[in-house]
Amino acid sequence: MNLAKKEPFAIGFIILLLILLPFFVGQYTITTFIRIIYFGFLSLSMGFLIGQGGLVSLTQTAFFGLAGYVIGLMNIDHGIMFPWPDLTAFVVVFVIALFFGLIAMRTEKIVFMMITLAFGQIVWAFATQNTSIMHGWAGIRGIRPYVLYGINFNDTSTFYWAALVLFLSGLFLLWRIVNSHFGLILNGIRENPRRMAALGYPVYWIKLVAFLIASMYATMGGVLACYNSGIIMPTTLQLSRSIWVLLTVILGGSTYFWGPVVGVVTAIWLDVLISSMTERYNMVIGILFLVIVLFSPTGILGMLDAIRSGHKLKFLSKFFLPKKKKID
């Protein structure tokens, strides 16, 4: 949490490195970083809800994919140019998120998770089965970035810089939201919604606003993703994708602001590494998931924290010497 306060120079240095990156590395690395950025938005979206609000939402990937669909449909099928498809994407996702949120916020905890899972599946089902509007399994191909004001975003480096600027501003904005009065209330709701309600806070509406903020981050990721890959298909909306994003959040450390970012960077590089070695990608990811939940539920950042504060092997000993079981 206090990374930014303690180490502003380190952050400045990292940002500088990221800006200069295209001068040092090849096309493939840059593309990987673009992937990190758009999945980073998605992971932030989910991580914000889990870490700050205690809301595990599996609908975020649907928003991510919907943004791509709106752009694909307007741009490719109807030939409408920037900025209308992109703006419409945000508006459409906002309206759908509002609708889902109004229903889902009536429930709590694990039930909320199941309902958001079902909502994600609704969108997936619609995109898969509907051939007249959504093109079914085939999806929409050929989405290309534009040339705007003489800048050609088809160039990988230019696209990377644009995405980086958006990502850094998104991070900064989220940082402000988390540390604002609103963020504090949200944390209060995560800890004890009944008490917050008793104190007079409109718990339902605050959670809904958080949900909408998160949906906008997912949309931003989706917009970048569809321009970068040039294709939008129902596979983007699959449950396995949501679960992968959830993994990145847990991997990094869901209670930390930087958790989703650390998680996504690690997961994407693991992805690159594993895919080149074995076909059993899902198996490896599943086992990784098991190990994290059992051994280090606070993720990579939690592990680093434990090492820094001297409890080097606490997370290991905790597993082999389970605490005396409490009932409930």
């Binding site: 309902i115 847990i250 599943g286 098991l290 939940v293 059992l294 539920p297």
Partner: protein, 286 residues
Amino acid sequence: MDIKFVFLILNGLTQAAILFVLGSGLTLAFGLMRVVNLSHGAFYMLGGYIGYSIVKATGNWPLALVAGGLSIALAGFLFERLMLVRVRGGDLPETLLTVALAMIISDLCLVFWARTPITLNVPKYLNPPVTILGVTYPGFRYILMGISIFIALSLWFILYKTKLGAAVRAGVDDRETVSALGVNIQVIYSAVFVISALLAGLAGVLGGSYLQLSPGGDTTILTYSLVVIILGGMGSLLGAVVSSLILGQIMSFGLAFAPQYSYFLIFIPMAIVLAIRPQGLFGRKI
């Protein structure tokens, strides 16, 4: 009435039979343990595949049903004892563990079984054409419905007529008091999780004989079972019965009249019920 509608209703009932076996396991585990087992779909698929292999090797369908169910029950037992017990009480870690298990199982299925959709072969003697009131319908589907009704009755009997069931129902209301009264709640947890896994395995063999088993199908199955228990109310056996009957008909008629939206349609009753009654048709406030 048009004969077509009779067939559609019968198809819907067959579908409902499978949905019930699937959903009742999940709702049972949720009611007591507050664990949403997201590997339920993967359990179903693994059970179905094991049943498929046994039918292929021996041709004995009843054996496949028993073996498919029991092997998944064993898997569930091991998972509960070795993993789930370590993170008991934490909503998120418990759910995440089941997610991880689902990923591993579905990838294992890809390793050992076909990448193309398969269906279990039902022997002829189990599938005679049955004519009731002038309507001829495959007998095996009546057997499916019968098995489902039998399972519903046994679950009802276990829950309401046995000591185990009494402990389970008491545990749903107040775990602490139950354990203070000298009931070993950990054992009850294991028992319920094993029954839940058993039901998923059975559903896999039943469903695999009527529908298809396909790679990646576990998420679809998981969604079906979630919709069943969200609609019916989590932890409610009656809710599972009613919602699977409703959803079975919607799936059957949807497939016939609006194939582009058939999967989409099953979510509509769920959304309506959630908006009016978030705890589901027969659920209690959690």
